[in-house]
Symmetry: C2
Subunit: 101 residues, 2 copies
């Protein structure tokens, strides 16, 4: 079963640490966004590769764009029409793999 869209108090609780860690909520849809900047392309793509393995494990994939050493990420769960626990889990994994958590 896919997780449900986070709303209300459970959402606030789930997002608190992410928002404190630099994640923001997209304005045009229900999604979490963050820009990661690394030392160079090699470090950026190495991080993307590790995140890709988590994505396959969770069967939940980020929308992301990479320009040289920067990666912009948007996380949302299409099936649920918004941010779910899967996105929270993926966001935390991204921070952890970037050495930020």
């Amino acid at each position: 079963m896919r997780p449900a869209k986070l709303e209300g108090e459970p959402r606030a609780a789930a997002l608190a640490s992410l928002l404190a860690a630099g994640w923001t909520e997209a304005e045009d849809r229900d999604a979490l966004i963050k820009r990661f900047v690394f030392r160079d392309f090699s470090e950026a793509f190495g991080w993307m590769t590790r995140v890709a393995m988590v994505a396959e494990t969770l069967d939940h994939h980020p929308e992301w764009s990479n320009v040289h050493r920067a990666v912009e990420v948007e996380l949302t769960t299409h099936d649920a029409g918004g941010v779910t626990g899967l996105d929270v889990e993926m966001a935390a994994a991204m921070d952890r793999l970037a050495g930020l958590a």
Copy 2:
């Protein structure tokens, strides 16, 4: 030495096969763009990984975004202010690694 921006007849000659292979020229700046669609995320990211190695070898990196099994690419050479032989080389490598050339 970085290559020079392609213009005129040499540009037309260099781009002919790429345009025939589905590459187009961006409207808002001098760049080559293409959308690659793979069977799934694993295949898409596997391709990105192989392209990343070419990018490091050439010291020339694509601007690209990935949403599940699709990857949108923009190629331009910032130092030269537009499309150069490096972009042509990278575009051809991307097609080759995608099994399209």
